[in-house]
């Protein structure tokens, strides 16, 4: 049965199409502008002649970034922090979440509270900073002088993610585990052969959360690198920010007769920082959607 659209329905439809079109164009425009501005000529950018499409196309802004050793160094550092940080965080979280999911664990409520309390109450910036400084001294005393190992091990652990994993492990039926134990599996084998394969999608989602937060990590990385005085350990986010703060130097860096505006250099840098995530986005999309739905967990 084909119904005629009612007036109210029609109005609502028109409203939603217009609103969504405007909103999504607003979301898109800054990126389009960034791309255009990064490849436009100096005069066009400095005098705001670039509105939507690039003008006097040049690629020198990009090539100057690609020729900058510091940029590649920062990129490598970010990759290092993301890869090792994610592996460490997800490893610790899987082990902890698995143990917490077991009903036979003694003091289970105590351990859970220990975890959840950190979501309610955090010490704040200053005590946290003092703590990181102290632990860095300890790290240096045992021979780990690189700040990046402290960043990998100490930062980015999240109680929420461990709780998500715990809930996923609790959902695995105990019969399979019992069967595995009868077959002589050890505790660790039960985890790796039964629990991990059966909660793959949650683990992938949580790993994604960790990975994103590592890739985006800025504040503490900057503080710790400033405190330890090792500028060549700075990750990409810190590198971008320092360049923006040093905006006027950027111009002299590029040289007054450079064919591109300092604005173009910053836009090009922004694009370089976004592109890796856009490339892997199609592969991680479904975990993204799953992740936000897990936000409303209950116990």
């Amino acid at each position: 049965m084909k119904r005629k659209l009612e007036v109210s329905e029609l109005i609502f439809k028109i409203l939603s199409y217009t609103f969504l079109t405007i909103f999504s164009l607003c979301c898109l425009y800054p990126f389009v502008y960034a791309v255009s501005a990064s490849i436009s000529g100096r005069y066009a950018v400095d005098y705001n002649q670039v509105i939507l499409f690039p003008k006097d196309i040049q690629f020198d802004a990009f090539s100057s970034i690609f020729n900058n050793n510091q940029f590649w160094n920062a990129y490598t550092n970010t990759l290092f922090l993301t890869v090792y940080g994610t592996i460490w965080a997800i490893g610790v979280s899987i082990l902890g979440g698995y143990a917490l999911s077991k009903k036979r664990l003694l003091f289970r409520t105590g351990f859970n509270f220990f975890l959840v309390f950190t979501m309610w109450f955090s010490a704040g910036i200053v005590p946290q900073y003092l703590n990181y400084l102290d632990t860095q001294k300890v790290f240096a005393a045992i021979g780990i002088t690189d700040v990046k190992w402290l960043i990998v091990i100490a930062m980015g652990m999240a109680a929420m993610n461990i709780i998500l994993l715990r809930n996923a492990f609790e959902g695995v039926s105990s019969e399979i585990e019992e069967a595995a134990i009868v077959d002589g599996a050890t505790e660790f084998q039960v985890l790796t052969k039964v629990y991990i394969p059966m909660s793959q999608s949650t683990i992938a989602t949580v790993a994604l959360f960790f990975g994103i937060s590592r890739w985006n990590g800025y504040f503490w990385a900057r503080q710790m690198i400033a405190a330890s005085g090792s500028p060549n350990e700075q990750p990409l986010q810190v590198f971008i920010r320092l360049l923006l703060e040093d905006y006027t130097n950027l111009d002299t860096l590029a040289g007054w007769r450079a064919p591109y505006s300092p604005n173009s250099a910053i836009y090009a840098l922004i694009i370089c920082a976004i592109i890796p995530i856009l490339i892997i986005y199609p592969f991680i999309q479904k975990y993204f959607a799953k992740g936000v739905n897990m936000g409303g967990v209950k116990e």
Binding site: S16, I125, E187, G295
Partner: protein, 347 residues
Amino acid sequence: MNDEYLVYNEELNRYELDPEQKVRDDVEKNRWKLNWQLIVKDWRLYAMLVPMLLVFLIWRYFPMYELLGCFKITEVGKEVAQMKWCGFANFKSLMFGGTTQTTAFWRAFRNTFLLSFYGLLFGFPMPIILALFFNEIKSNILRSVYQVLTYLPKFMSTVVMTTLVSMLLKQGDLVSGTGIVSLALAKIGLISRQTADLGLLNNPDFFRAIYQISGIWEGAGYDSIVYFAAIIAISPTSYEAAQIDGADKMAQMRYVVIPSILSTIVIMLINRIGSLLSIGYEKVMLLYNTNTWVTADVVSTFSYRLGLEDGSQAMASAAEMINNVTGMILVIGANSIARKASDVSLY
């Protein structure tokens, strides 16, 4: 006389300990031994907990010990443990001291609350509205295009996002012109050209608006996923039944869609209220400057400057303590109200 564990011995004409009680006492006494045996037998499980406990203990709980510095007198070059206690003196001078710090603290406290509150007022309904509109688009391809476009800003890190914002709103200077968005706003008459040229990020009147709008731009699309998932879970028969009863679009919204996604909205709302005072300091720190402290300075950034730049750690810790304790009360309160009102709770 309580005769639970004492029995009357008639031969000796006195009370004696019940022999069964002795067994019970033994069990009680050896409970820890039994537990210990359980732990030893199951040591692999407990070993799995150790890395997590260590990480949280060292980097989450030790800082809380450092936070105790707020009850002590700051002495340069000393550990928190060695400082002298001074009770609530730091709190007193911070909250009622009448110094410049006091005014700055209350300003920061008000800003923290206002930024969150406006986020709740404007930022919270936006994803819901988006999800309702997404539901109207019947073509799957078109809807996916809209969705991907609105998720796009979520892929930027805070640094990239704030860099982009400050480039688009930047002041005009000798080197290069005013940011393109400022220019556009001046063109349509929302702000004067002069304001645009001075840089919107240098103007305290605009900080809150920039903060909220960039927040919506960044997160609304992504946050709408949750609501959209709840909306598409509504069975089409509900709509049909409503239509047969003569409900127009508004009535369908009112009586079918909103009640179905209400529990999701409640959960998200509690979550939001709970984090009312834990405003993301990173974004504020990246967007504010000395000119906009009046509206932009939040408690975290205030105590960061106080503690790490002015070297007054005790005061800074006191400020954080006030903020965090109030925040914790809000979280626990919101959660327990939710648990009472419905069966949904967050933890």
